[in-house]
């Protein structure tokens, strides 16, 4: 099991009200304002998928699987493949998600992901093109929320990045064009695959405003205390999407400091994620049985 933590977590735990504690730079679970909770990440957990990952951030549990299909590119973007995000809020997480209850949250998450991945600088869809204007790969990134313990945006973005890192795209052996019919032959060797370039894949950091201070990685209780949060998606040190959640408003100066905090935290997160993904060995025991 690999533990991924971005900061020191050895602060003394004190039991006080969240609000008061945050101004003292000690949080209810003993963390400092910029500390993350411990995370566990596994890859290759879904055998039906081309790439998958499972992330557990304290009580938040996210399962991501990438499936690949052959599709026709958009007529206005003949050179690009397709990338689609689908978030499913499982009722296992909370009864409120039963039926279509989790749809609003799911749409918010998938919108944020797709706008973060939209720029070519972030994720190059041109690599997914098989034949100009005719055939391309379509990546379905399916995200399943199994447990919700706060800070979904961060957890989902990390899990998505890990799943894309894990994704293997089959190599094409030959393309036969016969009028409007296109026959694609995929390489027989299941081990000859190309990996995706995910160095630019964004990580999202939720900066939560409580009182007049900002914290990262809020747990469920802290999310309740806060009136609003800024979600900053960072790719290679640049910001690729900023969005706000909640109903609160920010003073421009507070907002700017949130962005600065978000970028620096994302950088740390990025470093430890790359390190952790590098350490993952093949064929290790994964899943829910541990």
């Amino acid at each position: 099991m690999l533990i991924l933590s971005s900061e020191k977590t050895d602060n003394p735990a004190r039991i006080e009200r969240t609000y008061y504690l945050i101004s003292e730079n000690i949080r209810i679970d003993g963390r400092e304002r910029e500390d993350y909770r411990p995370m566990e990440i596994e890859t290759d957990v879904v055998s039906h998928a081309f790439g998958s990952s499972r992330l557990r951030l304290a009580n938040t549990d996210v399962l991501v699987a990438v499936k690949i299909e052959v599709d026709a590119p958009y007529p206005e973007r003949p050179l690009e493949g397709k990338l689609e995000f689908f978030v499913d809020c499982s009722a296992n997480a909370t009864p409120e998600f039963e039926g279509r209850g989790g749809e609003e949250l799911a749409v918010e998450l998938s919108n944020c992901l797709s706008s973060a991945y939209r720029s070519e600088e972030v994720f190059n869809l041109k690599k997914l093109c098989i034949m100009k204007g005719r055939k391309c790969w379509k990546l379905y990134v399916d995200i399943l929320l199994l447990e919700v313990g706060g800070n979904l945006f961060d957890a989902v973005s990390i899990a998505v990045k890990a799943a894309l890192w894990n994704t293997q795209i089959p190599k094409i052996k030959s393309i036969n064009v016969d009028g409007s019919n296109i026959d694609i032959q995929v390489c027989d060797d299941i081990f000859s695959c190309t990996k995706l370039d995910v160095t630019g894949a964004p990580l999202m950091v939720t900066v939560c405003k409580i009182g007049d201070k900002c914290i990262v990685d809020p747990n469920a209780a802290e999310e309740q205390c806060s009136v609003g949060a800024v979600v900053v998606a960072v790719s290679r040190g640049n910001i690729c999407t900023i969005s706000q959640t909640g109903t609160g408003s920010f003073h421009p100066d507070t907002f700017k400091s949130c962005l600065i905090l978000g970028i620096s935290v994302a950088q740390r997160l990025e470093d430890s994620l790359t390190e952790t993904l590098g350490e993952i060995k093949a064929n290790q025991d994964v899943g829910f049985l541990k």
Binding site: S90, A91, Y140, D142, L144, F288, L289
Partner: protein, 251 residues
């Protein structure tokens, strides 16, 4: 040469190397999540199912549904979009999922002592992560474990198993996806294995009625076997929890 491959080879082995009466490997765990009142994870062969139980709690949405003499058991079956070979469009809401939810409800109501909790509701949610045949039995078994983890009184375990008839003669147990696709009838049974009561019986395709007793017997034997496997996990789990509070540390 017949086009249809034989489900059981002449040395008595099935496509995945099992014998006719052999179950796939079952691995399970109780209490995988902390948010629900009870949760469980089960692997039957490659089929993987997560179950979560919430309740008993006040009836949500419209008090008129509440019953004065029993608890309402609310089931939702859902399949992750990536659980099947081909990507699914929707995780739930289609006909098959609704049917599954109803069947699950039928099996669980038979086992839960609903009369103990009037005016309340118990939610059971199952999520299929990987589908490889025998989804329904895996869901029932996972739900049973989750109910036990939630501490909800049950009359006894409720277990489910599938059985089929191979080569028009030999009953075989615990049908995998490959065998389902190959054809052949599938009999799904949910039962209370200790009292030998059948709570749900479902059949696809056909075989001669003469074969029914032996196939049914095989399926019921499967339920008993599964019950024994689950029992080991549950008692281990109880021991583990018990030892931390020093009351279950008897042996």
């Amino acid at each position: 040469m017949s086009r249809k491959k034989e489900l059981i080879s002449n040395i008595g082995l099935r496509l995945d190397g099992r014998r006719a009466g052999e179950l796939r490997r079952i691995r399970c765990k109780l209490g995988v999540f902390s948010e629900p009142d009870g949760s469980a994870y089960i692997e039957q062969g490659l089929t993987k199912v997560l179950a979560a139980v919430y309740g008993p709690h006040q009836v949500r949405g419209g008090r008129s549904k509440a019953q004065h003499d029993s608890a309402i058991v609310n089931c939702q079956f859902s399949m992750a979009v990536f659980s099947t070979g081909e990507r699914k469009r929707r995780p739930r809401g289609d006909r098959k999922s609704t049917e599954m939810s109803i069947h699950l409800h039928q099996a669980l109501v038979a086992a839960i002592k609903v009369e103990l909790y009037p005016w309340t509701q118990i939610d059971v949610y199952v999520e299929v992560l990987h589908a490889d045949g025998g989804i329904y039995p895996a869901c029932v078994n996972a739900a049973t474990l989750a109910l036990i983890d939630a501490g909800i009184p049950l009359k006894e375990y409720v277990c489910a198993c599938t059985a089929s008839l191979a080569n028009d003669d030999i009953p075989m147990i615990d049908i995998s996806h490959q065998e389902e696709v190959m054809g052949g009838p599938t009999l799904t049974v949910a039962a209370l294995p200790m009292s030998k009561k059948v709570v749900l019986l479902e059949m696809s395709q056909r075989f001669h009625v003469d074969h029914l007793p032996k196939v049914l017997k095989t399926a019921l034997q499967g339920c008993v076997d599964i019950k024994n496997i689950l029992d080991v996990t549950v008692s281990n789990n109880v021991k583990e929890i018990g030892s931390s509070t020093r009351w279950g540390n008897m042996t």
